[in-house]
């Protein structure tokens, strides 16, 4: 009898799964289901984790530039595009570097001369655009700092208590 019930449930489930997705099933059970603040992506945690990973990578004596590149790219993609300001783009521009690679062919363990390559149309050097990833990381940190994500900013209202002779428009509008 119990087996029969189970088989019934399994059949019904298979029917449902054929016709509806899991999300639909969830929303059927909880029609008011929606994301709450707890379900949101913990942006601050992810950024902190990425920065800590960067620290670990740099700390490692065997770290490769590829690792640094990857973690920097990860941080860049974690930062929302809307946060990125002109100063960030200027700093990123300044972090640009060109990697020059010698592409001359080797014959009998001897590199072909430049004249030979130019004569035969063989490319000698290639310039590849890259970044100084420490500068990139620094640009990201600066951006996060400007957005008051890293350091807590203590705002201050300071007045000397002295009056100014010239009046502002703001002050005049108060009379209205």
């Amino acid at each position: 009898m119990i087996i029969a019930i189970h088989s019934m449930e399994a059949k019904e489930m298979s029917k449902i799964s054929e016709s509806k997705t899991i999300f639909e099933l969830l929303t059927k059970e909880y029609p008011e289901a929606q994301l709450t603040i707890r379900d949101k992506v913990p942006q601050a945690f992810l950024i902190t984790r990425a920065i800590l990973t960067m620290m670990e990578v740099v700390k490692n004596i065997q770290c490769s530039t590829e690792e640094i590149r990857e973690i920097c790219e990860f941080i860049i993609h974690l930062i929302p595009t809307s946060w990125k300001d002109t100063q960030y783009y200027a700093e990123m521009e300044a972090a640009k570097i060109y990697v020059v690679q010698d592409t001359r062919p080797i014959f009998c363990e001897v590199k072909a001369s430049i004249d030979f390559c130019l004569k035969n149309g063989i490319p000698t050097f290639t310039k590849t655009l890259s970044f100084d990833y420490f500068k990139v990381f620094s640009a990201c940190i600066d951006l996060l700092n400007r957005k008051h994500v890293i350091a807590k900013v203590s705002s201050k209202e300071i007045s000397s208590g002295e009056s100014v002779d010239v009046q502002t428009k703001e002050a005049d509008t108060l009379d209205e």
């Binding site: 000397s160 002295e162 002050a171 108060l174």
Partner: protein, 307 residues
Amino acid sequence: MSDLAIVNYHGWKMLQSNEAAVGPYFSNTIMARIHQKKSTNITVVVEAGIGKSYMAINIARMLEGKTASGEDRFSVEQIVFNYKDFMDLVLMLKPGKVIIFDEPSYSLSHRDWYKELQSALVKTIESMRYKIHPLIIPVINSNLLDKTIREYLISFQVVMTERGKGTVYRIKPSQFNEKIYREYLCELHYRMFDKDVCSKDTCLSCNQLDKCTIFRAQYERKKASIQEERYGQAAEMAQKTEAKRWTLLQIEAMAYELKDQWFLEGNIDTLKLGIALADAHGIRLGNNKRYELKSMLETHHPELAPQ
């Protein structure tokens, strides 16, 4: 701090720097609330003698600013010490004008003052929405205020750390539980206002206090007059209390000194005897006591007895 500059804020000198996060954060927040016609109640809390009243006045003067002729828009009349004056101001003042409900120091019983303040706040919850008068309350400790008021009615709390310095918190009660959140807003650093006009730290020892036109002198004069009034009332109350303790024999001696007022045509006028005692010593006697006193006077002073 390359971008540090002195700016003109409502006629007052204020420092501004985006890099150092210095600017009129608190004043702008309050001004925005005034323009949005929101009710704004602020408490300035610190122990006695740190200058919470001065801080409240400085905030108000900063908010209201100066006129084109360089005069303060905020006047000393906007500082009240009791409920009646507060209600008068609420009705009389133009919208947007700040009111300071100051603590009357040692003159009025603190308990009475808090009762008055609480009734003032509770009764004006609704009217504040229409009248738009930011209210600043300098108080020794916010716990002295009613729980409902300090947690649900006060929007900002300035916790003073030393003279002219304080931290501003935005008070936000949770709508889901009983928690009250106090969000840090900014630091306030106000030097003593009008220091360029008068460099004295206090008005209390100044011999120019009676005629000085500086705002803090005007405030001190108003506060002193309130104090004097309260002291007068307290002295009267003390005399009344003392009068209750006097024995009839003592009262007889006092009454005999006023003989001219009540011994008329060879008789003691009991009514005039009572009036004379009330006028001279604040002693009020009932009918029976007056006749008892009359009998005593006639017995002890035979010349007063009817012939």
